[in-house]
Symmetry: C2
Subunit: 299 residues, 2 copies
């Protein structure tokens, strides 16, 4: 962590590396004990550039920690029934601990049907409603990667959460909604009073100013300004945007949902973009896969 | 609804009757069209007085609206496997649209295993994590009875919810937690900014004072006092307690989590105890059963 005027800029990369080192050590011990390593499978349909790059990153990082990693590739034209058959096969395969189906899927495929076809026991993305509900009821569950990464980030930065007011901006299914639930659970590393804000929220500024921990996943570049943040607050930025900037060689710069430069001096902690939350997502997937291997979530 | 000093005391009984009349009409039309009526089954284990009385009320109200109602009764000594077999049988039976297993169960039975064994398609109590997760992701779902009853109460009282600040006190699995999620969903009859408070919450009074809609499910008699409520707020009281009162013939009176007499004059709307939220729970179960019959949640 780097200090600037008493503000700690959270180093997502270092935290990610720390977790990966721990996983790697554990996998190494597993192999030394004569057992097979955890096996993560990614299913990808089509040639979407972002999807290909996510899957490549998952594959690379899986291998880094010693997992077996497989990728099932299908053309955009695959029939829904054939994808369902693949899922049924992976659900049954004892040598596969967890798998993900990279989203989005082509329009002719019912995404929700696919997600709900995955055996919750192998749903290491945590997108199956059964895992969502288990998280909500504070039962063992696979937690979606971004919310999980944020709790790891807070915990490993020794940020106090119990009883704090956590304000979450944005209620998407993959970040804001599950995160708001997770942060309110009765666990030692969460246990916040949580307010979930969204497009219909009135008095947004006032609510943000009451936040001890402000988590922004609203999808608008540099939306949160200095006058929306309480002195000493923790600010976690989930957004990532490419905005035009002719002063840069590439012609753009990467920003988050928070106006970092003006907000950072008011915070006790702030997560930057890039180099913040985004570094933790694949790591969370690896943690879920290790849990699936060890049958820690479902017996 | 009864007016007192401009405060409207919500009449839970009248709302419940209104909904039951609608269900009864629909069931009557179904029968007239030559189809069988919806069929709700309650499974009860043991002789717990409260459980027997809940199940009797469910049976009675089911019959009132024209449903077929069955009760499966088992002794306290039933083996978990035998209960599982019963659930598997009910899951398969095409003549059963929905069923509930009355809680609590005897200690030798793993309650969570029983709940997760119920086919989510027939889980009209909405306690299966899969229905919890679907609700969280704003997909079609069976909503648990008390949260659903509260939304019915707000809607049928024409209380504006969109963009309002809803503060929920208490994060139980059957009320506070699912309710806080439900109230924040992007639907015309919810869509609130929601703050979920619990035992670890700091500045509880201040947060309550910021509520446009205050829903109290904290399990403490008359916990919410006048000085915790904003003028003109809507107050919904989920608690129910019997407290000693020698001035009453029975030696006790029934109160909620809200100090009704002192709070009521500050509110625009308030739900009383008894005669408030409690009147809506069985009705919500009936609504879920009708939805299950019509396959409105799962195809």
């Amino acid at each position: 962590m780097e200090e600037k005027n008493n503000t700690i800029v959270i180093d997502g990369k270092a935290i990610a590396q720390q977790i990966k080192d721990e996983i790697k050590k554990e996998v190494s011990d597993i192999i030394d004990s004569g057992k097979r390593p955890p096996h993560l499978v990614a299913v990808i349909v089509g040639e979407d550039g972002a999807s290909l790059s996510y899957v490549a990153s998952k594959e690379k990082q899986s291998k880094e920690v010693g997992f077996t990693s497989s990728v099932y590739r299908f053309p955009n034209t695959i029939k829904e029934e054939d994808l369902i058959n693949t899922i049924d096969f992976l659900n049954q395969d004892d040598e596969v601990d967890g798998f993900i189906v990279q989203l989005p899927l082509p329009k002719h495929i019912n995404e929700q049907r696919i997600i709900e076809r995955i055996d919750p026991k192998k749903d290491v993305d945590g997108f199956h409603p059964s895992n969502g509900g288990r998280m909500m009821y504070n039962m063992p569950a696979f937690i979606p990667a971004t919310p999980m990464g944020i709790t790891s980030m807070l915990k490993r930065s020794n940020i106090e959460t119990v009883g704090k007011h956590c304000v979450v901006l944005g209620r998407s299914n993959i970040v804001g909604t599950p995160l708001s639930v997770l942060m309110s659970r009765n666990n030692s590393d969460t246990n916040c009073t949580v307010t979930l804000c969204h497009s219909k929220t009135q008095n947004l500024k006032e609510i943000c100013l009451s936040a001890d921990i402000l988590i922004v996943a609203i999808g608008k570049p540099e939306f949160v300004k200095e006058d929306m943040v309480k002195n000493g607050a923790v600010v976690i930025d989930v957004g990532i945007h490419r905005i035009e900037d002719k002063t840069k060689e590439k012609g753009y710069r990467i920003v988050g949902d928070v106006a970092f430069e003006e907000v950072k001096n008011k915070c006790s902690y702030i997560s930057p973009v890039p180099g913040g939350v985004g570094m933790l997502t694949v790591v969370s997937l690896l943690q879920n896969t290790l849990k699936a291997y060890k049958k820690e979530v479902y017996q």
